[in-house]
């Protein structure tokens, strides 16, 4: 993850926004751990176990959770169902978000089929492309629509919360401009190029190479030892 305008925005706007970006990232991580523990029938988790599972040190875990109040009981730990619900609320996952994907190529299609989104309250309402051979194609229960009719779509759907950009680099800025012109509030960019958005838009860029670079570091490190 890089280029998080969200963070800078966070720093600018008063008290609640002073929650560091890294805390938000870790909250999503805790949520995933709690989900897993919950799915195997565990009901309580100690602060130590949460540290162990998340590979985050105990000071940080406690600090992260302290931004939002007191969730745990000293010596007993956290009730998983309750903590899950609270973190989900903190992240705004109790509110349904309308999501569109622009780009019906392999990445866009993979994202459209990604089951995790709906589970978290993200509702994919449209998928768009500029390629006439793709428009009309079915992806699960949706039909690929023309990006040139995006304004009509947004009007019918009464606003869109999040737009995912999954187009080649050369059209990413055009797509971003189209999303912003139609008041899409947040943009997630998978195109391997930096794009410009206005300051009031929530923006994240995903670079898939980052993950390989991190593995590369640890590979090099293990080679050095032996």
């Amino acid at each position: 993850m890089d280029q998080n305008k969200t963070t800078r925005k966070g720093r600018r706007e008063g008290k609640r926004q002073s929650i560091p970006y890294s805390t938000i990232v870790r909250l999503t991580q805790y949520l995933r751990i709690l989900d897993r523990l919950n799915s195997i029938g565990i009901t309580m988790v100690s602060s130590n176990d949460l540290c162990e599972e998340s590979r985050v040190n105990s000071f940080l875990v406690r600090k992260d959770l302290s931004y939002f109040g007191e969730f745990g009981t000293r010596g007993v730990g956290y009730n998983i169902a309750y903590l899950r619900e609270e973190i989900a609320k903190i992240l705004g996952l109790d509110v349904k978000r309308k999501l569109v994907i622009v780009g019906a190529g392999n990445l866009g299609t993979a994202l459209a089929k990604y089951r995790g989104f709906r589970e978290r309250g993200f509702e994919l309402v449209g998928i768009f492309d500029s390629d006439p051979t793709k428009i009309g194609m079915r992806i699960d229960n949706l039909q690929v629509e023309s990006i040139f009719k995006f304004d009509d779509f947004v009007r019918v759907h009464n606003g869109i919360d999040i737009g995912i950009i999954a187009v080649p680099a050369f059209s990413a800025q055009y797509v971003a401009n189209t999303l912003l012109a139609n008041n899409v509030k947040a943009v997630l960019n998978f195109a391997p190029i930096p794009i410009e958005v206005s300051e009031n838009v929530i923006y994240q860029s995903v670079d898939l190479t980052t993950h390989l670079e991190i593995l590369s570091f640890y590979l090099q490190d293990s080679n050095r030892k032996g």
Copy 2:
């Protein structure tokens, strides 16, 4: 990102490994910024600009770079070409890594075509599937091969560094076992399910929902104000 066995591994193994996981993540971020600055012809960057661009505070930027020696000149800043090269070396990107992708569905195909990988020294040498209708299919200059013949492939290629898992949840563990049985050193898992790997394997799991959850937090936050 979650479940970074890499981090725990890092904590266990002596001095150089005590570099925090979060520093490694930020180094990949600095590298991307330096690349961008370099591509528009800028040759020097101040510590402050690096902070501004990365939205990381100046204390952390200096601390991150200090793990590896002294790169900058006080009052002048960093030479971009030099700093890029050093960070690339730190991350082991000066060494070619042999990469395979398992899963030739939409996500696997998108990853196979992702141009960023090769630019960073990751060489995609094979793509695999178990589906007979996919085996033999061409993706750029590669042909999809049978995962059941993976052991032959690894022998011919004299070892594989990184395996990317891009299969549905139900077959992810099987694929992981196949990779590990053939001594693949590092695994990047895109399947939306936790998988078990032995302690000596470098492992990262990518959950694409994380990015949406982070946007959701900032969306909620902006709604509250406005």
